[in-house]
Symmetry: C2
Subunit: 458 residues, 2 copies
């Protein structure tokens, strides 16, 4: 009956679990902005202290960027390694937040209570479900259920530049575990827990088109001087055809059609496309013609503009002919698409589209292939059953549209498979203003991990 006691302990301890999460949420650990480097370091220290308190030999490990946190504790059974990230996304546009993003609070909503803060879901709220499950387990049983290692990074939201060097440098130490657990994904819906077994890869590119050697007066030079903002618009417009297919040469190499078995499983999930789109003010899928909504977000590659800027963008009007125009563009990748080949083809395509007198500068913002998990290990079925015990509907193996490149790196560098279990919801506002995590996700997420640990170690 130790599981029942652990679940009861989790219920009793929930207010304190929340206090601990709120401490962490108050640290503005925005990894992409150098102004917050000190806060990232504070968040790493907080994680070390928390793990040490649970008996881990936790340590902050320096990198060229933000530090990693590693540690191990417990004995026996399968050796699990849990991965999370303590950094968060930027908060702009700040004026769209209804509450300060780093002052977490519980709020009532029509769908129940939510934890409101940047990082409430991604990934602080999510990884704390695992930490709090360990805490409850130890409180009831006096020790952890088996050998457990942890690995936290602080650069997940900025392309993880230090990750591959760190894994390579510490390969022997880090390849000891048998399987990686990652809590950075969502449920299929609020009733249906999920294990995510397909994840898209991500290629990040920034380009700057340069024309005149300085900003010009559009009256004096307009009509005779090339305008880089217009050149950039034509390039962006050329990246998709009229059926929303990406036009970068060779882009679809390695993209297979969905196997019939997976397609029928997904069709059976009852995906409510109208509700999914309606939640964010849309009504029609904008992806490739002839694909289902779940294919578009889980199984098809994309090319998206994440940011554009050129010229005068303040109040009022300035009749400037800008000297440069920039965009941040990301590609979501599937199957065996090769990120580096696509980067090269994209850059060549841009070069080929440049008119006379224009040059282009590129900046590399990371590249990771898609991940397709092996579900052959029986632990997947054990976990699925454990999750099904906690939630109203049975757990499903699903795809994920977001990229978690770490799973690919664990496989490629350490030889480790990953199992991705998370409790996010579609309306959590990841990367958006007013991010939240349902109190139910947090509470039942902790309980879910206790059940999974019990299933794995018993």
């Amino acid at each position: 009956m130790s599981l029942e006691k652990t679940l009861s302990q989790i219920d009793t301890d929930l207010p304190d679990s929340l206090d601990r999460l709120f401490e962490l949420l108050r640290i503005p650990s925005i990894s992409t902005d150098p102004a917050f480097a000190g806060d990232c370091d504070r968040a790493a220290d907080w994680v070390v202290d928390t793990l040490t308190d649970l008996g881990f030999d936790a340590a902050k490990r320096p990198t060229a960027g933000h530090p990693m946190v590693t540690g191990s504790a417990g004995d026996g059974g399968i050796h699990l390694m849990f991965y999370g990230h303590y950094d968060v996304q930027p908060v702009d546009p700040l004026d769209l937040w209804n509450e300060p993003p780093f002052e977490p609070k519980i709020q009532d909503t029509p769908n129940g209570k939510v934890i409101r803060a940047r990082g409430a879901n991604d990934d602080k709220g999510q990884f704390m479900t695992f930490i709090e499950a360990l805490r409850a387990w130890k409180a009831v049983n006096g020790s952890l259920p088996g050998r457990i290692s942890v690995f936290f990074e602080g650069e997940e939201e900025s392309g993880s530049p230090s990750l591959v060097p760190f894994l390579n440098a510490h390969r022997e130490e880090l390849s000891q575990p048998d399987l990686v657990l990652i809590c950075d994904t969502g449920m299929f819906d609020p009733q249906t827990p999920a294990i995510t077994t397909m994840l898209r890869g991500l290629l990040g590119e920034e380009l700057t088109i340069i024309g005149p050697d300085r900003d010009l007066h559009s009256g004096m030079f307009g009509g005779i001087a090339i305008n880089p903002a217009r050149v950039l618009a034509r390039i962006i417009a050329a990246l998709h055809d009229d059926n929303s297919r990406v036009t970068v040469p060779g882009f679809y190499d390695g993209v297979a059609d969905l196997p019939e078995s997976i397609r029928s499983q997904w069709d059976g999930l009852g995906f409510d496309q109208a509700a999914f789109l309606g939640e964010v003010g849309l009504s029609q899928p904008a992806g490739e013609a002839g694909r289902t909504g779940l294919e578009m977000v889980w199984a098809r590659p994309t090319c998206e503009v994440n940011g554009v800027w050129s010229g005068y963008t303040g109040d009022g009007f300035k009749t400037v002919l800008p000297s440069r125009a920039s965009a941040k563009i990301s590609f979501r990748l599937v199957g065996t698409q090769d990120p580096l080949a696509i980067r090269e083809s994209f850059r060549q395509m841009v070069q080929d589209l440049l008119p006379p007198d224009c040059t282009v500068e590129f900046k590399d913002h990371g590249a990771a292939a898609a991940s397709v998990m092996s579900t052959a290990n029986p632990i997947f079925e054990k976990a699925r059953a454990a999750l099904s015990d906690e939630w109203p509907r049975p757990a499903a193996f699903i795809g994920g549209g977001g990229s978690i490149p770490i799973a690919g790196h664990f496989k490629d560098i350490l030889g480790l498979d990953s199992m991705l279990i998370g409790f996010g919801r579609d309306d959590d506002g990841l990367h958006s203003p007013n991010e939240k995590y349902d109190l139910e996700s947090f509470h039942k997420g902790i309980r879910s991990w206790a059940r999974v640990l019990d299933a794995v170690y018993s």
Copy 2:
């Protein structure tokens, strides 16, 4: 010999003239940014004080925006009204300035000494050539040469929203003069002074494409959700055809081919297109196929992107799918193109290009038709001769690519013709970082006005 004495007085007084100009240049009167409203007011006060000192009954006149300054002085002869604007362009990107923009200084360059500051040319340096000519005239002769009124505004760089209402409200008072003088244009080249007789109009538009009702995670929604940054790029790309002609329906209504007489006069000016473009790092004209360079900048209409922004534009990378994308777009107009008809056609074209689930919001940033000056008044030939006396080469009647909508408003509302004489050079960096005005432009500009006044009133 009073003219010779006045010219000599101008030469002697030049250091003090510069001191007075520098006082004005130190006031950061950026009209488009509300943060500088107090500075605009200080600049207006400075102009009032300066005019009062010269015997004008000068007054600051309130508007819904920044104040006007008006005044009159002197008696007899043709009644001239001088127009200038005391506001300046914004200074961003500030990091491209080699010196603080509001700390004017004299600098040596390979082409001679220059006055370096925001507004050194546009329009503070330019209008001070007229003021200082009046000052010298009065010092030598004890009075002004005839009846002279002045009219200054502080919103020229932000679309002049208060101008038309003010002219309408004070039509009787302001229509008393016989002719308007405007000093806000350039020479043809450093040896050739010019009277500008054709000016392009300006239509300013801002559009915001709105898709999802909030910023989305590009992993979760990328591929199924419409991306407004991509929609905006397609709209901007559609505004020109492959020959750089503007595609807005009806855009070329009212655009006539250049009369042969003007074309041959311009061909005779010896425009050095390679040098004009080379000065700003370009080599090839990017305008309509089959047009000369001077046509492109003086006689053909344009559509330019002055600013674009969407999504995440900071350091690093953020995989956001933005909810909105904006652009500031301006049209330079010629002949009898109708700005309001073009605005309507542009907005309809954008609406027609919108995909499902997208909406657009427009913001009006002003509309003014092109101006074509009447040169029938003999004062034009008198001024041309006076300018030819001061400079190495004879003065020419030329076109101007920039817009000075005020000339059109003076004609339409007050019934007044304008004569545009200015001393700017192509490399002055109007609206750009490191704006300058040649010391020779300032000095010989003052002398030029003294000669023009002498020719007009003798």
